[in-house]
Subunit: 415 residues, 2 copies
């Protein structure tokens, strides 16, 4: 981190890209690929360990993230829509079968070498009995949250003697606990995002549009070590920042307003997510108060989890409790109604995954090791909004809570 | 179009961006928005006209493209995954209800002003009875191809006295026939893509990677009038071009190889899709022969449909027949086995929509007016591949078939 003023709102010395970790090189990437390959047997074993209780002898998966996690085969975000059945997979007690049409057979061979390829076009119901017979499956757990009702009905009709058992959340629960090479990739994605925003700061000028800045930030991310965005960049100026899911428009950046960036990078399949709210020109007192309140709420939640983890005794906090730790600060200041979303979410192959940190999150201890966002916000409709979001890594056995997002949280003035 | 040689492979005068239509301005965009608003009652009427036959009194939709088409509310590609139930909608005989959580209520008010907003978070099953009661729905058609089996089961359990009727393809069939303002947007998206590739041509050099060229082309599209890509740019060099759905890698472009670009733009919600296979350096005789064969197959199919349309009598060709018109040329030359995919697909709000043009396409006449791709290819695994793809507009009542992709189809040498 470059030197910067810590007390005042105006920080004349911004962070610089060189303050953050450099993007990973080919050696690191090859190591991660190898780590995935080495981890797949254990991932499959955790899945198979659920078979007996559920009375099934196979698992049929269609979710993009699960394909990659369990088989190695990867589709780009949205590619499912054109990939047909390619990448859908069946795990039995002793093998993994990956479906592919001719467009994808070479890729499956490369990325999922431990799997058997089963050729299928847009005709899964027609091939379903043969697929099951070839794998010896008679009672199949199916990802009910991702298979459409129409497909479900066709599969059921195609093999009436095979039971389809709807299951949800099995692999999602397993994925919430992260391996070291998964955490390393989330951290690398955080650094790519940190660097990109640092590189953008000197370019921000009043008169530029949200859209132009969003596109520029995207460019910096995608030429700075990420193979993709984690999600579309949100760049929201002034009153638009009060829309927690707004999209960048042709609105110019004006002096005396806030400028909110919510964005993330994807590095070797794993994602980051961060939000910073900047000030264009000297902030109004009210806006700075809101900013400091959000920053305090965020730090309080993180410090509270850190303290709980550092003792190494007792159960880990629940996602609900972490949410309360942030929310209490905002409620105590009378802005509870203006913080309408949850405090955070897990992240990994998907931008939003378990654990969930919110008022209605399951009342169970957080998994470990894991990584999640802490992102309280306050939104004054029609006026402005502030959100500050960092990813944190929690590792209970190491008694460690670490911010993976390293970009400073002090109020920064740009423009 | 700039002057260029028509016979030889080498075209020293490439097309220039100025050869193609300029990106649409705000006046045109406002007109399209107005056209959508004016068209929504007719779109809804077509949907409601199906109610009586199916014995339903409402339609519950979740597909992103249908939200926009019927209500005006638009989510970005992939935003469904984080939007929860926001944008899902219920059409009854006399109203349209759009679900939204607090993040989206302002946007629904802006974009879908004729709709009633119904607040729902990630709790649709809990709100389902109230939603149906508020709309007076007792027997609901549900998009079975897009609602998961798990959600379906929960909705059925939440309101056991309401019948859920699985329906598929209703709105998809309606969307295959395009309004003038829809066709104008597809044409505008084609022009943005044409201009972008023309701007890229002089920048292509041996040694650049597929990935760098894909990113540069994306940048030209997204700063050239498109709000988004239609899909990730495919830039595939040499043997990689034999993968009909390959992704750009860190492979450098080499002299004496083919370079395939498959890409599209999205303009005001509507998409384009085009493929060009270029030659890096003077092409080998075999490669040029393959190229010419694909070009002939493509032209033959288009010319054949044009002839059928121009008479204005008899039924329109079927998608299967158009496929055969292209495929026969390739089969006659002994390469039938190397053309493994269909000849084309409709396009609009989605990249792939009806009509379908392939060996197994439904044996029914094409809709009209409509727009679809014609994209035969030949793939020599491990060596090279060629695909040429244009969008064509078919308007039977005007006896018109028009190429919307205007980029030249002659073999072009770059590098």
């Amino acid at each position: 981190m470059s030197e910067r003023s810590s007390g005042g709102a105006r920080s004349r010395s911004w962070p610089s890209p060189a303050d953050f970790a450099a993007p990973p090189g080919p050696v690191e990437r090859a190591r991660w690929e190898e780590a995935d390959r080495a981890a797949r047997p254990a991932r499959l074993a955790r899945l198979r360990a659920r078979f007996a209780d559920a009375g099934v002898d196979a698992y049929f998966g269609v979710r993009r993230e699960h394909m990659r996690y369990l088989t190695g085969f990867s589709l780009a975000e949205g590619e499912e829509k054109v990939a047909g059945q390619s990448g859908q997979f069946l795990v039995t007690g002793d093998e993994v079968v990956v479906l592919a049409d001719s467009r994808y057979t070479i890729q499956v061979g490369r990325e999922a070498p431990e799997s058997r390829v089963f050729t299928a076009y847009n005709d899964l119901p027609a091939r379903w009995p043969e697929l099951l017979a070839s794998a010896g499956a008679r009672r199949v757990a199916v990802e009910a949250g991702f298979v459409s009702q129409a497909t479900w009905s066709r599969l059921a009709a195609a093999a009436p003697d095979v039971d389809l058992v709807p299951v949800e959340g099995w692999v999602e629960a397993d994925r919430a606990t992260k391996e070291p090479a998964e955490l390393a990739r989330v951290a690398a994605a955080c650094a790519v995002a940190d660097r990109a925003l640092a590189a953008l700061l000197p370019e921000i000028r009043t008169g530029l549009t949200e859209h132009a800045l969003a596109l520029r930030l995207e460019w910096l991310i995608r030429t700075g070590g990420a193979e993709a965005l984690a999600f579309d960049v949100a760049c929201l100026a002034g009153p638009e920042a009060a829309l927690p899911h707004g999209s960048p428009g042709d609105r110019p950046i004006l002096d005396g307003t806030v400028l909110l960036f919510d964005f993330g990078a994807q590095v070797a399949g794993y994602r980051s997510d961060m939000t910073r709210t900047l000030f264009v020109g000297e902030p109004a007192g009210r806006d700075l108060d809101i900013y400091r309140l959000v920053a305090t709420a965020q730090s309080s939640a993180i410090d509270w989890v850190a303290a709980a983890v550092s003792t190494g005794t007792g159960p880990l906090p629940t996602g609900r409790a972490v949410d309360a730790a942030a929310r209490n600060v905002i409620e105590a200041a009378g802005h509870g109604e203006r913080f309408g979303h949850g405090t955070g979410h897990g992240i990994g192959l998907a931008t939003h995954e378990l654990p969930s940190l919110g008022k209605f999150a399951p009342d169970v201890p957080l998994p470990s090791p894991t990584v999640f966002s802490v992102e309280p916000g306050i939104y004054l409709e029609g006026e402005m909004g502030v959100r500050i979001e960092d990813l944190v890594l929690l590792d209970a056995s190491a008694r460690r809570l670490e911010r993976l997002t390293r970009f400073p949280r002090e109020a920064l003035v740009v423009g």
